[in-house]
């Protein structure tokens, strides 16, 4: 028979790291809370009959957040055979709050004190035997990051599950509260599984709506129990939920006092606190973040990444693959059109994209390191301060962090935002942050037209952030999105040395999927593009064309290219690339590879992307980059937006907004750029000035839907009324 062991614990306490170690899975391990939104399942290594369930991180079993609902539904509804409760040893007091609730569920529980290495490093001591005696269950130590003690804890939980041995319930509550809970237990006995009696009784005491609904108590019994609860509230002068919370913490304080010895004085600063004083400082936080992102992009695009990418493009693809493949195919007698299809189409398109893999890997590696050491969680905290000012919650930044890898999970991560208006706005703005697939576009233009400038690459990231902030300000002033942003509470993890396994796994997963897409979607797309750009009508006869400007693709591209003329890239090739980018953003580069003759240029020994410079100036290239970074994301991300919006109207609104903002941003940059570089004032410039003025107006106009001034006004009115009455 299958034995189910649930991994439960606070957010960011190391559950997923342990899950991966126990099951050999490759689940994403993020160093910020809320990474696991839904439960995941895997078999315990060496124990084929045991299934480990990785639950989302929760602080309590109260159903306030999506994560808590998922975890609680599983624990109470599906009843695992045992719970392995992961407790962050460096924050043991707060973590034990959930532990006491899990024990009350009446299921076998093993507590694993994680990060024991950090506890020791801090000079603290946890007496596991005393802690176990107080909690009434087995307590073990472990370090998920170092791979120590995890399997022993899982095997202990397995043994408990096989023996169906639940621990003793600790005496958490006292006095009249304990009396009332015991009375509730008697009253609901028989209505619920005996093992869960205690937990249900406490939830009834807390007036938990879901539990009350589930129990369907008679009106007379409800009134009777209500009397007991009300008596307690009157006696302790507090509401029922707070009474339970206070008594729980009082109990935990006693347990901690007996079993934990802290070296540091209670309010002294840890190393992480000291680092945070600088890193999250009101003045320094933003410059440090900007400098960190500049370094990340500079190293990945301009230095190490550039060298490796140049080698991949020039030596590997152009020299070795294109040159030899072309010669070989011609040697065995392949028709010129097939040589063209394979070398210029497939190798040209796929090679153009693959050439940017080294830059991408380095970027992902550095972002993974920043995340794993705990810095990205600080960035969410820093951004909350800024976002809140502009009407967005810091909660919105977590999807944006995830979206720097791919927009699809970024959009889906918005599910954790409870406020519907904030959630919609987050979905609309998440894809502004450059995802991995947009990296080749950035790398291409930074390399081809800006000499590998790190500033251009970094600016791409901050243009995304600026678009999010701009949207936050503007949209919050509309009726549809008005209202205060949801509060954002996030625990900042202690800084630690990055786990090599986690970092390399995250980097490789992202890089490998990029390579796979280049070998599938980009390859197929390149073949289609090659045919369309190689065939056309010459003198009324359909056939291969010498010049791709007379091809079918040129005709299609020219029909839509006028739309982009005011943005500076009104020729058919960039227009086609913009549209093929909807299949996958890296396809923009693949399309350029086919259309600008990646292989041909390389054979001549000229600079790989030199041909692109013939169709772009630095200004129009920057405008093209902005448009492609901000406009509608790829079809997969659009699908995710449709799923999450659950409304065709909102989906069109979101995509329309992105395209509109992208168009206007590019228009302003290009046209004003032209004006400032001495190209005179034209119709386009006038349109750009109008767009800029409109943007400024939308930014500074009064918020008619701001709740706070209304609240102030109503208080003022009420006090005036009071004065008049008196």
């Amino acid at each position: 028979m299958e034995i189910k062991i649930a991994l439960a614990g606070n957010p960011n306490c190391g559950k997923t790291t342990l899950f991966n170690a126990l099951t050999g899975s490759n689940q994403y391990v993020g160093n910020w809370p809320g990474v696991t939104v839904e439960k995941k399942e895997g078999r315990l290594k060496g124990h084929g009959d045991a299934v480990i369930q990785d639950l989302p991180g929760i602080y309590s079993l109260s159903p306030y957040t999506l994560e808590e609902v998922v975890a609680r539904s599983y624990l109470v509804g599906e009843k695992p055979d045992a719970i392995l409760n992961i407790v962050d040893g460096t924050n043991i007091e707060r973590n034990l709050y959930l532990t006491t609730q899990l024990i009350e569920l009446g299921l076998p529980v093993v507590v694993a004190v994680n990060m024991i290495d950090l506890v020791r490093k801090n000079g603290d001591r946890i007496d596991l035997a005393k802690l176990g005696d107080a909690l009434g269950c087995q307590v073990l130590e472990m370090s998920a990051l170092k791979g120590e003690g995890g399997m022993a804890a899982a095997e202990a939980a397995l043994a408990l599950a096989k023996g169906h041995r639940a621990g003793e319930l600790p005496h958490v509550f006292t006095g009249s509260v304990e009396h009332a809970i015991a009375h509730i237990e008697e009253s609901i006995a028989g209505k619920v599984d005996d093992r869960f009696l205690r937990w249900y009784a406490i939830k009834v005491f807390e007036r938990d709506e879901r539990v009350m609904e589930e129990l369907r108590l008679s009106a007379s019994l409800k009134a009777h129990l209500e009397q007991h609860i009300a008596d307690c509230e009157q006696e302790l002068d507090d509401d029922a939920e707070s009474i339970i919370t206070n008594q729980r913490y009082a109990y935990i304080s006693g347990v901690i006092e007996r079993s934990v010895k802290k070296k540091r004085a209670k309010h002294s600063l840890s190393i992480s606190d000291k680092i945070d004083r600088v890193v999250t400082n009101r003045v320094l936080a933003l410059p440090i973040f900007a400098a960190a992102m500049f370094l990340v992009y500079y190293i990945s695009i301009s230095t190490v990444g550039d060298i490796v990418t140049e080698w991949t493009n020039e030596t590997l693809f152009s020299g070795l693959i294109c040159g030899n493949l072309s010669a070989w195919m011609e040697g065995i007698g392949c028709a010129p059109w097939l040589v063209g299809l394979v070398v210029d189409g497939i190798v040209g398109g796929v090679g153009a994209v693959i050439g940017f893999v080294p830059q991408m890997l380095i970027l992902f590696l550095m972002l993974s390191v920043l995340e794993d050491i705990g810095y990205m969680a600080r960035v969410a905290f820093i951004m909350d301060r800024i976002f809140r000012r502009f009407g967005l919650s810091g909660k919105s930044f977590i999807p944006m962090l995830i979206a720097s890898g791919c927009g699809v999970p970024g959009v889906m991560a918005s599910r954790t935002i409870e406020n519907e208006r904030d959630r919609r706005m987050t979905i609309m703005t998440t894809c502004f942050i450059p995802c991995g697939a947009k990296m080749p576009i950035i790398g291409l233009f930074a390399g081809a037209l800006f000499g590998g400038s790190g500033l251009v690459a970094t600016s791409a990231y901050f243009i995304g952030v600026a678009a999010v902030i701009f949207s936050g300000i503007v949209l919050k002033k509309t009726k549809m999105f008005s209202g205060d942003p949801a509060p954002f509470v996030m625990e900042l993890p202690a800084y630690h040395v990055p786990a090599v396994g986690n970092v390399l796994r995250a980097t490789w997963e992202r890089g490998w999927s990029f390579i796979k897409r280049a070998g599938t979607v980009i390859l197929a797309s390149s073949v289609v593009l090659w045919f369309l750009q190689s065939f056309g009508f010459v003198d009324g006869v359909f056939g291969m064309v010498e010049d791709n400007n007379t091809s079918l693709l040129a005709s299609i591209g020219s029909a839509i290219s006028f739309l982009f003329a005011p943005l500076g890239f009104g020729s058919w090739k960039p227009a086609v690339a913009t549209f093929t980018g909807l299949i996958a953003k890296e396809n923009v580069v693949g399309t350029f590879g086919v259309l600008y003759g990646f292989a041909e240029v390389a054979e001549d020994g000229a600079e790989i992307w030199g041909n692109i410079a013939t169709d772009f100036t630095q200004l129009s290239a920057y405008s093209f980059m902005i448009f492609n970074l901000l406009c509608a994301p790829c079809f997969a991300a659009m699908g995710a937006i449709k799923r999450e919006m659950n409304s065709a109207k909102w989906t069109f609104a979101a995509i329309g907004y992105m395209c509109g903002l992208a168009y206007l941003a590019s228009l302003v940059v290009y046209q004003l750029g032209l004006l400032f570089t001495g190209h005179g004032f034209g119709v386009g410039t006038a349109a750009a000035v109008l767009a800029l003025l409109a943007a400024v107006y939308l930014l500074v106009r009064k918020n008619r839907y701001d709740d706070n001034p209304l609240a102030v006004r109503s208080v003022t009115a009420a006090s005036k009324k009071k004065e008049m009455i008196s």
Binding site: N26, Q27, Y28, G30, V35, T36, V37, E38, K39, K40, M329, I332, G333, C334, A335, L338, L341, V342, I346, I402, G405, C406, G407, V408, P409, M412, A413, R415, C435, G436, A437, A506, E509, R510, W512, S513, F514, K516, R517, T520, V521, L523, A524, V527, A584, K585, E586, C634, A636, A637, G639, A640
Partner: protein
């Protein structure tokens, strides 16, 4: 058309057909679709509850 051209063209055709076919199969079975790679995606289960 000579032999190598026919064989080469058929290989290219087969590869493209396989890619398109696989894409359609994936879509029908609610698999894949994003650039992040599902193994890396923190919300994988939302798209693929069967995995």
């Amino acid at each position: 058309m000579n032999g190598p051209t026919i064989v080469g063209a058929l290989i290219v055709l087969a590869v493209v057909a396989a890619i398109v076919g696989r894409g359609i199969w994936n879509r029908r079975h609610h698999r894949g679709g994003c650039s992040c790679g599902c193994g890396d995606c923190p919300s994988r289960g939302l798209c693929h509850p069967d995995k």
